[in-house]
Symmetry: none
Subunit: 285 residues, 2 copies
């Protein structure tokens, strides 16, 4: 039996399995490398499961041993039947099929550039501004709506008053009405910059509200009057720029804020998660 067959077998059996067995089974599907390369005990701990559960899973799937279940995972990695050679080739070959890998590669390069392009002082300043703010408002339009949404979603987990600007049709001015010195505005954009960002930075400046900009350039119009600017890169082999790096920067910003706030904020995040779960936001396991 080869690895593919085992995986199918697992997926077929998945609904019938009990909670713990299913958790283990999913881990096998998701981390096939580990199955072959590490011991059962450390595999179990990585999967958040007891070693016993893995033994039982093996039995349940019809294998005599753990070794018997593990064997197909080993063979998968052996260079003989190389799915990796094919994979590596796929990364190199041209044509439509390569577009996927190329796009991902470009995004990864953008992330790396974003890591290098922001120095820690700027990051610290951005965090300080956002932490002091009574209210945080985030502006991002068109393709930058995604990173804006991410930032709002994450900050809501540990900040009182965070909102996305430009929610429902054209009420932007109303949403900006109460903004003042004690708040903070985050603007996200890259060339060409959405027109809607104009009024946002404009009112922010007039009301002396601190501005954190996420942009593709220090010279971006939205960065001109910002107190801090964090950079991200949008290079892409395709016809549209990539905003994956912007999303990653937004996440990293939220992660940094959380890290600075320490344990209290962390438990607050956990509470929020627990609330969501209790409210039935998620599918049951």
């Amino acid at each position: 039996m080869n690895h593919g067959a085992v995986q199918e077998r697992i997926l077929a059996e998945l609904p019938e399995l009990s909670a713990e067995l299913r958790k283990a089974a999913r881990f096998l599907v998701d981390h096939p490398d580990d199955v072959a390369l590490v011991s059962m005990r450390v595999l179990a701990s990585r999967a958040g499961v007891t070693p016993t559960t893995l033994v039982r899973l093996g039995r349940r799937l019809g294998f005599k041993d753990w070794a018997a279940l593990r064997a197909p995972f080993e063979n998968r990695l052996r260079s003989g039947n190389a799915p990796f050679a094919a994979k590596a080739d796929a990364l190199v070959q041209r044509g439509p099929e390569a577009a996927f890998a190329e796009s991902l590669n470009a995004a990864a390069a953008n992330l790396a550039a974003s890591g290098a392009g922001n120095d820690s002082r700027e990051i610290t300043r951005a965090c300080t501004i956002l932490e002091r703010a009574q209210r945080i408002r985030v502006a991002g339009f068109r393709s930058c709506r995604a990173p804006a949404h991410v930032l709002v979603y994450l900050c809501r987990m540990f900040c009182r008053d965070v909102a996305l600007l430009g929610g429902d049709g054209g009420a932007l001015e109303v949403e900006l009405a109460g903004i003042g010195r004690t708040d903070a505005i985050v603007v996200i954009g890259f060339t060409p910059y959405s027109r809607e960002l104009g009024p946002v930075v404009e009112t922010a400046r007039r009301r002396r509200a601190p501005v954190v900009a996420l942009a593709d350039s220090m010279a971006a119009p939205i960065a001109q009057h910002a107190d801090v600017t964090l950079r991200f890169s949008t290079e892409s082999p395709s016809f549209f720029p990539s905003i994956a790096a912007a999303v990653a920067v937004a996440e990293a910003l939220a992660a940094t804020m959380l890290a600075r706030r320490g344990a209290a904020a962390a438990t607050r995040v956990r509470n929020t998660e627990a609330d969501l779960r209790a409210l039935g936001a998620y599918l049951p396991e």
Copy 2:
């Protein structure tokens, strides 16, 4: 140190070694898979050498442990290796200041894993489904709203009828009303899966509408009944999972569709852009 470097090191040292050590060293070079996959004792017996010799070889090559020598051979077999592991090692400093870089690194690793985790046949099938569809509906909730938004935004540039599901408060059922075999549904989610995805996949299945899933696992409940599943990884050093990779996969999917459609679609994208510009969507330079 990666496997290539170890191999070079071995070959360089080879002439200096004694008979037994050389025999062992050659075996390491010739059977790299075995080094990672079997225990030192059976490796020794396969090489016709005593276990002790292997330990001594490791020392001789400058490794602290047998585990240290073995590690590069393991990494060689792992799928998500690439140049990212090295980068992650470079920035392992702790503290709140490092959170930013760590978060970005994790996201980059997730991108790499997503590239390796999706084989090109699946990608092709996903594209085919979406290209055949008269209408495309995308479902993504909570944190997965961001990648859903990205996919919709991009596909709109070259597809007639694309929309985000669950737009305004609870009209999900209405939006699903007309769905049928000739349409396509994209569902995006990871553990824990938003409850709203339940009805979506359910109606898709009932109406026999093809489903493309973007998920963190082949074993995801939303992937179970999907026609194709594209994987992304959400590993993160922080308290919340990262969706940067999901965004990148969504972009890559759009890029692939565009590449497959050829020049005509490309000009269509350019026209859309030009329209936006003419309509005054962007700030003037």
